[in-house]
Every structure is written in C-alpha cells, then in structure tokens.
C-alpha cells in the first residue's frame, strides 16, 4: 500500500512526528516573528521613555509624544499585527491540508512504499526514553 493512498487515521507514529514537525515549525516561526515585533515595541517604549525623556515628553497635538504612542496609536498597531498573523496562519493551515505533500516535504524525499505496520514504535528515541 502506498503512503499517498492511506487514510489520515492510518498514519504511523513516524508520520505523526513528521507532520507535527512540519506544521509546528511553520506556525511557531510565524508566531515568533510577530511576537518579536510586538515585544520590541512594547518593551522598547519604557526604555525610550527612560533614556530619552526629552523626546518622549515633546508636546504633539496637545499630547506628549509618548502619551500619543501608548494611549492612542498602540492599539491600531496591534490590530495590524493580529490581522497579518491570522491571514498568514490561515495560509499555512491551507498548505497543511495537503498533508501528503507535507509528509514528503518533511522527509526531504519521495515517500517509500511501505506497510503501515512495518514501522516500529521505537520512534521517539532521539528525544526521550518512552515507556510503553
């Protein structure tokens, strides 16, 4: 039986590892990228206030610059970040719907024809010793 004709419920645990690795790696990469931008802004502002009080307290439209940034502009910026995340994350999931090609991509080569039961359960051995 060829892998590509398998039902999703028949995947071996080896396949679970590959599929999980593939999906998680891409989603985590996206989450971390967006989080990095967010944390840079969020944690950078107090430091900016601390190091450059003159610039932070410059009057702008009756606000101070830092008040305008934190109290007004910060919200729409996070909306844009969220919208970008949701859109990109959806695209990753659509890719994942084609799980057969995901499995192939993760393995780095076309999948060998193989019976489901042939794969031995000693598959997590790299990460940890598994109790049966």
């Amino acid at each position: 039986m060829r892998m590509s004709s398998k039902d999703i419920g028949q995947l071996s645990e080896q396949d679970h590892i590959r599929l999980a690795n593939s999906i998680m790696r891409r989603q985590a990469g996206l989450s971390l990228r967006v989080a990095a931008i967010f944390l840079f802004l969020l944690l950078g502002l107090p430091l900016f206030n601390y190091l450059y009080p003159e610039a932070a307290n410059t009057p702008v439209l009756g606000f101070t610059a830092t008040w305008l940034m934190l109290g007004v502009l910060f919200f729409p910026v996070t909306w844009l970040l969220s919208a970008y995340f949701v859109k990109t994350s959806d695209r990753i999931e659509e890719d994942c719907m084609d799980w057969r090609s995901q499995l192939g991509r993760e393995a780095g080569e076309p999948i060998e024809p193989q019976g489901v039961d042939d794969i031995k359960p000693a598959f997590i051995s790299n990460e940890a010793e598994v109790k049966e």
């Binding site: 999703i8 008040w67 995340f85 994350s89």
Partner: protein
C-alpha cells in the same frame, strides 16, 4: 421626579434587561453541555462580542479611569496591557487550545498529560485567580451604589452579589453568551456617549492634557470650598491626607479630629533628616472647649506645633492628638535634607509636605483655591515614571513587571479561555481573537479620557482617594443637573454591566471547575448530569457568598491594582502551562505541575503579604526593591515558572506521554484532517 433617582433607574434597567435575557436564554438551554459552554454554535462576531463583554470588567470601566486620574501616564500601561495581551493569546494559545478540544484549563491539563491527578492541581488556580478577580468587581459594586445612592459600601456589594449569583445559578452560561454580547455593546455606549458630551463642555482629550503640559509645576486646586469626608484608620491605606508640596495649606476640622499619625508625605530614605517641627502647626479656635494634650495647651489664635513621628512609626494610642472642633491646621512644605544637606534630584532640591492620618471618620473643610491633597503635580502626572511606577524608586523595573503581568496574564485567565471552546474550530478561534482585540482596543481608548477630564474638573476626588468613582462623579459636575444625572445614570449602568458580566463569568468558571472537575471527575465520577447541575448551582451560591465577604475587605485598594494581581497570578501559573504545553513536546506532568505551583503560589504569597503590609495588618521592614518585587511579582514569577517547568521536565523525561506526537498534531493540525477530538463528548 427626583433627579437623583435617574441613575438608579438606569441601573435597574440594566439589571432587569440582564436577568430577562438570562431567563429567555435558559429556556433554550437543554443539555448539560449547553449549560456549561453555550454549545458551539456561536458565530465569530457574537463570540468576540461575548468575550469582550466578559473581559471588560469593573477594572476596565471604572478602575482605569480612576487609576489614570490618580497616577497619569503610568496608568496607561493598564489599558494597553489588557488589550494587547490578546496578541500573545492569539499567537501562542488560542488556536491550539480550541483544537485540543478541552473546555477548561483542567481539561487541558488532564488531556495533555494523561493525568487525572494533574487536573486536581490545575483546578486550584481557577479558584485563586477567580477570587482575586472578583474582589475588585465587588469593590466597584460598593463604590457605585455608594456614589449614586449613598448606600453604605457593604449594602451595594450584598445586593449586587445576590442578584448576579442567582442569575448564574439559574441561567448558566448559555444565558450568559447572549447577555455578555449585549453587555459589551452596553459598555461601549456607556463609556463613549457621555464622554463626547463632556468633552464638548470641558474641552477635548488633548486639551485636558495640555493644561498639565502648560504648567508643569502646577497642582489641581479646588474651585470652591468643600467639606470632604475622610475614613478612619480602618480605611488604610486610603485614609491619608498628604498635603501638596506646592504651597502652604490650611484646613479646618469642623467637628474636631483625632490624628493617628503625622509624617512626611514622601517616605524618607535611609539617613535623611526627620521632618522639621515647623512643617505642621495648628491654629486654635478662639474659645477652645477642650484642652489639647500637647506641650502648650494654647490660647485662642496661637499656633502650636504638633508632635511629629519621624518615620513610618505611628503615634501610639496614648499619644493620639485630639484637636477640638473648629481647629485649623497649617501644613508647610519643606526641602528634604540629609545630614543638613539638601537632597537633590535631577538638579533640583526635593520638596515634600506633611501627611496626616485620622483615627476616626473625620470631615475636613478645604477653603476655596486650596491645593488638592494627594494629587501629583502636573509634571509627574503627565510624564512616565510618576507616582505609580516610581513609588518604590525602581520605576523601570515596576513598569516591566506590570507589563509582563498584564500581557502574559491575559493569556492565562480561566474564564476567558473557556470561551474559546465556543468557536467551531481553531481557525475561528484565531479570527475571534482578532475581533476581540479590535472591540476591546476601541473601548480602551476612552477610560483614559475620563481620567484626564476628571483631573481637570473634579480634583476633589483626589483628596479622599475616591478617584475610582470618577466615571460616575464627573457627569454630576455639569451645570445642567438633569443632563448630569442622565449621563451619570448611563455610566452607572455601564459600570453595573461591567461587574455583572465579569463576576458572572468568574462565577461560572469557578462553579464549573467545582461541578465538572472536582465533583464530576474526582468526588463522584458516576454522578448523573442532573446531579452535576445541582452541584454547579450549589457551588455558584457558595462562591457568590465568599466573594461578597471578600469584597467587603478591599474597599481601600485601587480596583485596577487588584485586577493586575489576578493577572500576575495567572501569568505565573496558567500561562507557562499553556505555552509550554502547546509547543514543547518535552514537558512532563511533573514539570508542569511543579512550575505552575512554584510560580503561582510564590506570586500569590508575595501579593497577599504586600496587601497585608498596605493594610497595616503586618509590619515588615523590607527594602523598597523587595516591596516593588512583591507588589508586582510577574517579572520573577513568570521566568521562575518557565525555568522550573523546563528543569523538572528534563529530569522526568521518561514520563513524556507516549502519544505526544499525536497530541501535538491535535493541537496544531487543522480540524479538517480529522485528528482532533473533543474531550467532552456530547
């Protein structure tokens, strides 16, 4: 009709509507599953409205406005943290948690680690966080009813607590989905509509801030003479009257006063000289009826000097100073010295003024134009690192710790996370989160405007530490009394919607945890659905009663501050569990449990100790750095929990569940692949 009854009418309207919607929805709630999570048929928009409605608590509605009025810029971190914390939830937790098919965090804990024992540990924090979060809701209820009706603080709490508890016990959460969504829109209306009218009268957001920029050394003053009621020693820490360092202040005690303590407003640092005797004096009335037990008994019109406690040591009961009715007190600012040398900060000498605390409830008469006590000067109000984050002398540390608590805590609130189960799938959960950010972000633009207007229009609220009532008091200052009462009624109704919705959500998640996790899984695994429903109702009534009791103890704490404590505990317990549980295969139940207990319990301990010190229940002489780390523990609590989880998991790696990769697929793969399963089968 008596105009003062208008706010009450609005409050009754919102309560009746809320209960009416609850009863209507109960008829549509049939199975236990509907009762607990409102089915899974809620659309993204309505679910986002309901999450927002549940999330926008009294802390958001009243607390932020009050805290911003009190502390200025520093308090802006609260709305920003409350709103943008959802980004972390979106990036790391929303999708996986929904996909896993667990409806509560204890479900997740059990399913992720195949460990019923871990469920028992995980459920504890639902209760800790829940109780911490209900305390400020209760305070808001008491303050609102006192402000609009003049009811004693505890009466408002009892009335509101009973109404909401019965609504939850009878309606369950299906009712609350509709009600919460309705309440979001009610709250948005209540916070926005009145403020636009007020801005048209008193000037815009930037106008009320600009006044502070124009006069950096200024302090708010009273536009007319005013008698302000102070709480006695039981009201600590909100019983103090700290005179402004901007000038000499004179106040009169129409009914006399007993001073518990006279000390410097700015807590002296190590080595600084005590307050000079010239700083505070009293002017006796012409014919004193009572003698004054201090040095010179005094004759009419003679200034006497008060004994001053050099530091934080209160005067003992035997030295309480009794001032007769009509006595005037004069407080003079002075420059802080250290061994005779002026203490400088940023090139300027540091000034402070005396602070007095009363033993009993005391009215104090302030003359027209008086500098408002307890109000920070314009500059420290509008600039970062003012009275909130700067209070222990480590403003940057305090700021970062607060940010971590709010951002990570949002991602670990049990009553919010349970709502993600009402999304049909993981993708909808992410869309819902995006909508929630837009809905609550829009809301959070407004409470700071109330705070800024409040500073300009009703500065008397500083004097006796009642800034938490600014959203209700501010409209009452309008010269058109009828309009003022109507607007005040709208905000009072909004405040009610706020604490009703959040309290309901908390009560459901606490009672749900008890009925579903403790009773249904641990005590009586074979119980019928009917029995679990009864357990839920009994638990709701019991938790409602405990919350009312706790609410009575916290009148003197800032609403927003108490909520940040609930967030700090969530951030150090559930957030690390959910983050690592969703993304790190190597996490074991031992690691997760120890990390959660270490971070959560130590944070809880630090916060409770901090509260007891503020309340003057315990006296501990701790360094300002320690006090800062205890009041805002997230900066060490979150990393501690994460590190403990990592280390213990590494040590117990043999306990990683055997099907961990399948679990990870359930968490992250789209539902269409058919790998997900719902933990609670219908």
């Amino acid at each position: 009709m008596n105009a003062s009854l208008i706010p009450l009418a609005f409050v009754i309207l919102i309560i009746v509507t809320t209960i009416g919607l609850g009863i209507y929805a109960t008829r549509m709630s049939h199975t236990a599953s509907d009762f607990f999570v409102a089915g899974r048929s809620v659309s993204v928009f309505w679910n986002a409205s309901a999450i927002s409605g549940e999330y926008l608590s009294a802390a958001s509605f009243m607390g932020i406005a009050g805290l911003l009025m009190k502390n200025g810029y520093d308090a802006l971190w609260y709305p920003v943290g409350y709103a943008t914390g959802y980004l972390f939830l979106l990036l790391f937790i929303a999708g996986p948690l929904r996909r896993f098919g667990a409806y509560t965090i204890p479900d997740f804990a059990e399913g992720r680690f195949d460990s019923p024992a871990f469920r028992k540990i995980a459920v504890i924090f639902v209760l800790f966080i829940g109780f911490f979060y209900t305390m400020p809701q209760m305070k808001a209820a008491g303050v609102t009813m006192f402000t609009i009706m003049g009811w004693p603080y505890w009466v408002g709490i009892v009335v509101v607590g009973v109404v909401i508890t019965f609504n939850v016990a009878l309606g369950g959460m299906k009712g609350i989905t509709f009600v919460q969504a309705f309440q979001y829109w009610a709250k948005v209306f209540a916070i926005t509509a009145p403020v636009f009218i007020l801005m048209s009268v008193y000037g815009g957001y930037n106008g009320s801030l600009g006044a502070n920029l124009a006069l950096p050394k200024g302090t708010p003053t009273l536009a007319e003479s005013k008698t302000i009621q102070y709480k006695g020693a039981t009201g600590a820490p909100a019983n103090a009257l700290a005179f402004s360092p901007a000038g000499v202040s004179r106040v009169t005690f129409p009914q006399g006063a007993t001073l518990e303590k006279v000390s410097p407003a700015r807590k002296p640092m190590a080595g600084e000289d005590p307050m000079p005797a010239s700083a505070v004096g009293i002017l006796l009335p012409p014919n004193p009826k009572e003698s004054i037990p201090i040095g010179d008994p005094g004759i009419g019109g003679v200034i006497a000097r008060l004994p001053v406690s050099a530091d934080a040591t209160p005067l003992t009961t035997t030295t309480h100073v009794r001032l007769p009715a009509g006595t005037t007190l004069i407080a003079t600012p002075y420059i802080v010295t250290k061994a005779g040398q002026q203490v400088m900060k940023a090139g300027k000498p540091v000034k402070t003024a005396p602070k007095i605390e009363f033993l009993d409830p005391t009215p104090v008469l302030f003359p027209i134009g008086a500098l408002v006590p307890n109000a920070p000067a314009n500059r420290s109000w509008i600039q970062p690192f003012g009275t909130l984050t700067g209070k222990f002398g480590y403003p940057l540390l305090y700021t970062y710790s607060l940010i971590i608590a709010l951002v990570c805590g949002t991602a670990g609130l049990p009553h919010i996370l349970v709502r993600f189960y009402t999304n049909p799938d993981g993708r909808a959960a992410k869309r819902t989160t995006l909508w929630v950010m837009v809905l609550i972000g829009t809301f959070y633009l407004f409470p700071p405007i109330w705070g800024a207007l409040g500073r300009a229009v009703v500065p008397a609220l500083y004097a006796n530490s009642t800034t938490d009532s600014v959203v209700i008091k501010l409209p009452m200052a309008l010269s058109n009394k009828l309009l003022g009462q109507v607007l005040s009624g709208i905000t009072a109704a909004g405040a009610f919607a706020a604490f009703m919705s959040t309290f309901s959500g908390l009560l459901v998640s606490m009672s749900g945890a008890l009925a579903h996790d403790i009773y249904g899984r641990i005590l009586r695994p074979n119980s019928s659905q009917q029995e679990r429903l009864v357990a839920f109702k009994v638990a709701a009534v019991a938790f409602g009663a405990v919350s009312v009791g706790l609410g009575m103890l916290v009148e003197s704490f800032d609403i927003a501050m108490m909520v940040s404590w609930a967030f700090a505990i969530a951030a150090a317990s559930y957030f690390p569990l959910l983050l690592l549980g969703s993304w790190w295969r190597g996490l074991t139940k031992q690691g997760a449990a120890t990390g959660m207990l270490a971070g959560g319990l130590l944070s809880l301990g630090a916060i409770v100790t901090s509260m007891l010190i503020d309340k003057k229940v315990v006296a501990l002489d701790l360094s300002p750095l320690t006090r800062s780390l205890m009041e805002q523990p997230a900066i060490w609590g979150v990393p501690l929990a994460l590190i403990v989880m990592y280390v213990v998991s590494k040590l117990t790696a043999s306990h990683i569940p055997t099907d961990i990769h399948l679990k990870m697929l359930r968490l992250h793969a789209p539902e269409e692949l058919g790998l997900s399963k719902n933990y609670i089968e219908h």
